[in-house]
Symmetry: C3
Amino acid sequence: MTVTNIQLDSNGRLKHFLTTEGLSQQLLLDILNHAESFAGVGKRAVKKVPLLRGKTVVNLFFEPSTRTRTTFELAAKRLSADVLNLNIPYSSTSKGETLSDTLRTLEAMHSDMFVVRHDNSGAAHYIASQVAPHISVINGGDGRHAHPTQAMLDMFTIRRHKGTFSSLVVAIVGDILHSRVARSLIHALTTLGVCEVRVVAPNTLLPAEVEKLGVHVFHDMRRGLADADVVYMLRLQRERMRSALLPSENEYFYRYGLTREKLAVARPDVIVMHPGPINRGIEIESSVADGEHSVILEQVSHGIAVRMAVMAMVMGRFHDNNAEGT
Amino acid sequence: MTVTNIQLDSNGRLKHFLTTEGLSQQLLLDILNHAESFAGVGKRAVKKVPLLRGKTVVNLFFEPSTRTRTTFELAAKRLSADVLNLNIPYSSTSKGETLSDTLRTLEAMHSDMFVVRHDNSGAAHYIASQVAPHISVINGGDGRHAHPTQAMLDMFTIRRHKGTFSSLVVAIVGDILHSRVARSLIHALTTLGVCEVRVVAPNTLLPAEVEKLGVHVFHDMRRGLADADVVYMLRLQRERMRSALLPSENEYFYRYGLTREKLAVARPDVIVMHPGPINRGIEIESSVADGEHSVILEQVSHGIAVRMAVMAMVMGRFHDNNAEGT
Amino acid sequence: MTVTNIQLDSNGRLKHFLTTEGLSQQLLLDILNHAESFAGVGKRAVKKVPLLRGKTVVNLFFEPSTRTRTTFELAAKRLSADVLNLNIPYSSTSKGETLSDTLRTLEAMHSDMFVVRHDNSGAAHYIASQVAPHISVINGGDGRHAHPTQAMLDMFTIRRHKGTFSSLVVAIVGDILHSRVARSLIHALTTLGVCEVRVVAPNTLLPAEVEKLGVHVFHDMRRGLADADVVYMLRLQRERMRSALLPSENEYFYRYGLTREKLAVARPDVIVMHPGPINRGIEIESSVADGEHSVILEQVSHGIAVRMAVMAMVMGRFHDNNAEGT
């Protein structure tokens, strides 16, 4: 962690949340700990806290995603912020106003936070590097690069079930190559000190030199899942099928789909995770997705709490010297 | 009414509102009585009550409808709930995530209520049978099946004008066959003890064995409207015209369009109703739609009050033993 | 100003805001003065005032405009109103429900205010002439006719920089013919007593008899900008290019694009304005748009304050005898 990390302010506090890469273990733990304080809010009769009352959160979605937009919108509303949903199709940024002018305009409206979703890797960083000092940027997924709130809700879910990270074996299965979820998760797992992180995939779905991320590579699923504490199944984008990276859905499922039988080699208390939405029968068998090891729906619930925590943190709501807090 | 009615909880209270069929007279009267308490809210300087503050209402629209979505959105906001609008096109449920997974995901976000609009008859029932125990489902119109909040706002409007139901003659005119409004209204009218319910339509626009619903069938409009206290005109979907069920717009209007002249055979204090939007000159003459007997716009106003009442009821806001209410 | 001005109530107070034409200097000054009181709200920790709590504002957009819709939505939310966004495509008003029925329906839902955007000149006036007495209409831009809140935020920005209006020379450059912004601004400038208003454009982009609006016509930009205090650049709709009104983008920029070099003939403290979104390199050079004379982003900020002021005024929030205010 250096003070020049664009994600941190001059006091080393979280200013933007763009990637789990390069953040300290303590900062990631802070996110998890603050999220704990919000985890109960969803179950209360009045699911609202006034932490961001009078703040303006802009969901700036250059790539459509109902699911991610919905979780950020709910998180912001439960923090009592005002939310503006802007879907900006690619076409409108190519002609007419530049991205920079769009950002300047939203800043001038006294927005406080941009949640950015974009299909270009690096878009959230670029936007964070461009915005006015009073704006915080949260990456809601950029290209193949990062999806850090997803990674943190995954870590939150793991900690809830396993207590600590240090002794764990975590196996991530599927299309590592194209997955921003996998990249962000791997950085979070290694930073938080997970004992062993495995990636399980055919060579065509692995990035070059993936071992440099600190993971062990497996091509055989039964070997990759052996004694795993956590099995994390990635979503298979069906487009990949057609692009000749993969032989067929049937063969993929045969080799890399999660079944009860393959899961049997993992530890008895293994948890099964997935970022959603699920392709049943492609990357995961229904009986496993709905089975006793699955924590997939808990991930969704924790997603609201973790996003509330990140939003409140980048707005300075947990600073000791913050006098204006509610 | 049996305890196995999916709409009721184990104490016989309204849990979901899916159809007016099979609900007791007392329960329908409870809805009308609670709606009375909200009817004044729309005229107050501050049109808000805090009954559902901190609750999350999801408008889950599989079929687009600005008008219905708008009334539910306003009703929820005036109850101080947070509202999420999700328009889910058919295509996205056919490929990718299953409906069941979409519901599970929204539940995991700690939603409290789904307002469902779907063009498949039975969709709201199916969803209510699938959701977690803490979720209530309100049917905002499903296929040709039911549109129960529309029926209850109609009953509310009738009661406001006529005081009681028992002595009334109500004539419903038009496309009974394809109308979820008509079905829900007929059940509400008969349950609330209306003296005589008439349907007035050509045979091609009547369901088989419609008499079993407890209605009298008329093909001639002047005979069907004779001495009526309430004339309820259904919207004619123009698509039906082309499907050869009907001869022509002109001939339809000639036979079944409501004119001043035809209305003259009804009682002098007859009220004219329509669920909207109106096709002027197709099913109703402008001078009647805007005339002194028309209560069409009152129906719209009462729609907000009735939806507020139903939303508050399914959330348990009028239970005697409810301690968490505001 | 006459009492029959549709924009004013019987006490001469602002009821609708449709155009800057025909309003008194005092009323325009009232708008600016009230906007001053809101200009600080955007910088506060809690950007909200409760003036319109419990009011329902409907953004009634017949022509899509993310930018304008966004500013009105933010202004309404910062006044604590509930906001309903309705995008009504042309097609849906041509078939089915009439505009009048749509308005009646929204009124019946106890809406308080319609913000109207329409590509037909006069649409906002027509709607204001049709609505129920309790509804206020704000014109968010209608055809080539008017965009009065844009004009008032421009006047607010000018006053902030120049203090008074009387001694100013203001040059408006570009497509005057098709610009509702230009029309509304010219009326505001002349009503507020600006010394000299100039329009700078080729003959093909000037309305017939434009001098009757009280402006001086220039075809040469260097002469039109000489000693100007304010240079207001209009957006050039690229569609005009193809319609043979203009020779080419290059030639247009050469003759009417704003460059540092052309700006040099204006006063040293000239301010450069633009309603946005900017076409960089078409009507304005980037170094000028981003330069020290540009106040373009201030215009955006002031747009929120001015719209809050207008919304609060038409809702009677600044009447002396208003007892229901918060």
